[in-house]
Amino acid sequence: MQGWVILALLLSLGVLRSQAQNGLGELPVPHGLTLQPDLPAQTLTMTWQSDSSLFDIEIFHTELMNVVLNETVAVKTDPVTGQRVWIWHSSLPLECTSHSVRIRARNQQSVSQWSPPQTIPGSDIPEKSESSMYPQDKVVPVGSNMTFCCIVKEKVDFQDIRYMGQQMSATRLSRRTYAITVTNQPASGNTGTNVVCCSPEFTLTGAVVFVGYPPGDEGLVCETRDLASAKCSWWKGRDTHLKRKINRTNYTLNGRDCLVTNDGNTSWCSSKVWEDNWTLVARNTLGTVRLTDSAQLANRVHLLAPANVTAVEVKAWNATLQWSWPVAAYKKLEMVCQLELIGHELSSTRNYSGTGLSSVMLEGLWPDADFTVTVRCGSKHGFWKWGDESAPFRIHTKMDRPDALDVWVWMDSSNTGLVLWKPLSVRKSHGALVGYKVSQSSAEEDGWTTVSLPPERFNYPIILNNSSDITVAVAAQNPAGLSQPSTVTTPAYRADSQLSMSQLLGTNGTFDLSWQPNANTSRGYVVEWVPTGCSGLCPVNWEKVPEKDSSFTVKPDSLEKGVRYTVSVYVLSTGAATLLQRWQGYSQEMIPAQSVDLSANQTGSDVLLSWKATTMKQQRGFIRGYTIYLANAARLDLVANISDPEVRSYRVKGLSLSSYKFVVKAYTSAGEDMGTTVAIKMEMDTADMLFVGILVPLAAMFCCLILISICCYKKREWVKKAFYPEIPGPKVPGDWSSPQGPLDVKPPPHSLVHIVESPEWDFSKKGLVPVPEEEEEYENDNIEVDTDSDEPALLRYYNQVVGDGSHSNHVSDSSGSSTASVGSTQTEITYAGIQSPTSSQGASGGGGYRPQMQSAADPAEPQDEFEADFQDDGLNTGYKPQCSWQLDSPEAENFSGSLGSPTSVTSSQFLIPESSEEKPQSSSTWFHSFLSGKS
């Protein structure tokens, strides 16, 4: 029974204990909480006493009760003090605002009550009324994040916080405190990065943060300059950006403060005593770097520069140089010195060695040349590096006799030549030249003839009076003396025409020559090249080739494109040089500079194109041929390609009658020239023209005549009727018994025939006899006579017809246009003149014949007397047959002045009786009959 009671008590106690631990207030509250802030480090150290090991810690901004930390941490007891310590690092400077801390113990799910809060006051308490900003002058690495706070002065409004001049988003922490957080800060400038807090009116306060890098130094090297002390240098590496003096990197060398001297990106500091091991420590706020170096003094000798460098003796080909050392210890040092010689054409580096070296002889210099010498030395044993270089020292060597000249003779004819020599370079002249001495001698003359030439002359003409060779010696002269004379004997002249030259084709602007070696050569060969066809002072180039060589390349700098060169190789032996081989060629061919002279001639249906080649200078390459084009509008059609350059003509065959333009272009290997154009118009051949122009019309005419003849034959009856109608016989009143035979009628001066009106005209008589023309003209030379020579013939013919018994009442026309009338149809004109009195008006001005009818339209007719006769006739103003005609009337003689016109073919008038009923047909009538075929 008692056992159960004890067990029950124990169980109840256990339950009570368990209930007490699980319930609130059962765990003891931590006590003795104290706060210890580290403002620069922004840490808060909390110490308290408690039996528990697990605690809830809560930190909050006192004023606004903003919790900034609520964390459960396990904190051990400090074995020395028996207190529990926990350090909190705040991202916000603790001065920004008041912070309060409270702690409670925790055991799994049970917690004690919170300890009374402890507070550290910030700078925003009312007692501190001024503006301020935190943190101040903090040094942080690049890329870090920071929180800045601004505590605004009492009764002043807050506007913004600016980081590097840029407004930032601010958070309010308390009544007067505002904060910004900057992330990934860049490196600062020389005076740090400014964070400024502003009110609307003023700049209130601010802070500077220095953002940079830890030291980046590397490469420590120590050396000695005086064989005793040490100078250690290193590379500073990356800029720390910490320029504020208290933030700059601090250096110690082997534990001693190092007075750093900066030389660019290299820094160095010195130690009075050499030590074999060196340690440099570089330290700044953000970090520390340790550099080491180990070496013996002998291996780290860096000599100073030689001083007082002078030349104690200067000659033409050498000079002695001397200097001194600023450190006495150098005199016992085995050293090697390097002299750098810089001249106009000669630069070299020479090494000399010796103990305490301070004098050397420079050899291999050139006469009359400027040299600049610098000296630097180093330790021979354990060479470390070359020492400092001395100041440059200038040397001018003395003069010496010039070198021998390179002389050649160029023969431009069989008895004239030009002695040529190449200018001496500065290196070979050994001093400014004052002139040349040219001596010549021939086999026929004793001794030498010498002439002096100025230094700018490089040739001397020679004339061979006879065929003997001349030997010429040329020497250059400067103030130091004459050079060795160079002799040359004139070679035999060989004209190009005497040789069979081969073409030489250039390669990349050069001539690659090769020839068969000649056994006779004892002094090698001379390659000579000169523009072909050049005369006078030609640019003659030559080069001497050793006898072992049998090839040579002419460099392009002495060759001109598009110029033909004659290249000759001479064999040098004792005596005159002999020509071995000769070429002609272009280093680089170009298209011809000028086109050919072109002409074209027509030969039948062919065109013969012929041209003349341009001059050699204009060819600029070997002419390979010609191309012939036919120009059609804007294009050229190839007609022929003549690959033989000697052909200078071409016949284009089978061309039709048209105009053509031909273009002929010469071409070299570089291409065609611009071409010459010739135009030709194809015309018909002379024989053809004769054929077409003469024979064809003749044939046509012949055909017409045949047709007319046929037609006339078939219509011969009608023709006879139309042209030769039956003329009724005249009715001759009275006795007309004149004997048969020609009527000896003397026509009046104005007429060729005098016809006497007689009704008893006997048709069988020969009525009219033409007066010889000469006679008529003789008698009427004052009369304007028709010059038509047919008229007398017609008259004869006409009278013959009449005489033959052909009767016609035709009356000779008296119109003024006798020539035309006579030339056409005599009969027609005659009738027209009779039937149409007005037709005679056209001849009124000429004072020609007026038929027996007065023309009222021509009152100005000068034949007044003649007119008066008709006017007397009253009504008979019309046609008046020759009834009133009076043979040999004296009045008729008076008509001579007005009736002398040859158109007044009065001789063709017939004595037609007025009673004649037959009327002559009009021309239209007979023509119509002709066409209609009536007879």
């Binding site: 002058d137 306060t205 601010g206």
Partner: protein, 197 residues
């Protein structure tokens, strides 16, 4: 006679004119210096809170021109002292690398010395006022590098202010300035109890 002529009415007026031109030029350069500093430091253009560092008796219209010149001379003298202190402290604190601001700073310092020497020649009878500096740099330096920078701004603001005052005053000098010495002596003696010498 020639020497008297140059020190006479026209010579003095000419000197005052040159001094006014010098003050005007310096005022312009001080403005540029302040602007250059603000730009290099990315500082806002709003003025730094606080009064001018250098204080003088008020330049009331009742003062004679000579008295005004004397007061301004005293203020400029204090400005030069403050500027030299600033230069010394700034060079000690930060890198002494060359910059546009530093070249202008040296120019202003040298020209301020010339202006002081020039205005001193305008002073008459050895009567001199003194200016007072209310705050010193040591008190501001406790606030760190930013305090130094704000101090520099305030010194430059004072320079702008006092060179401007000097320029305005010298430019408004009337032609009878040359007569001022006699009258100024009387006024100086009368106002001696109010103004520190």
């Amino acid at each position: 006679m020639a020497g008297r002529g140059t020190n006479g009415r026209h010579g003095l007026r000419g000197h005052a004119g040159r001094t006014a031109a010098l003050a005007r030029l310096l005022h312009k350069e001080c403005i540029q210096l302040l602007e250059s500093y603000r730009n290099s430091e990315s500082l806002p253009s709003s003025p730094v809170a606080g009064d001018y560092l250098v204080s003088t008796p008020p330049l009331v219209p009742q003062l004679s021109d000579a008295e005004k010149i004397s007061i301004l001379h005293a203020a400029l003298k204090e400005c030069l002292r403050l500027l030299e202190d600033v230069i010394t402290r700034e060079d000690a604190e930060f890198s002494d690398e060359d910059s546009e601001y530093r070249r202008k700073r040296k120019t202003v310092r040298d020209r301020l010395g010339h202006l002081l020497a020039s205005t001193e020649q305008l002073l008459v009878d050895g009567q001199k006022f003194e200016a007072e500096v209310k705050e010193e740099l040591d008190g501001q330096a406790a606030s760190g590098s930013f305090g130094l920078k704000m101090w520099i701004v305030r010194v430059l603001q004072d320079l702008v202010h006092w060179t401007g005052q000097t320029s305005d005053t010298l430019r408004s000098l009337p032609a009878e300035m040359v007569k001022a010495p006699k009258t100024m002596s009387r006024r100086t003696r009368r106002g001696a109890g109010k103004i520190r010498k």
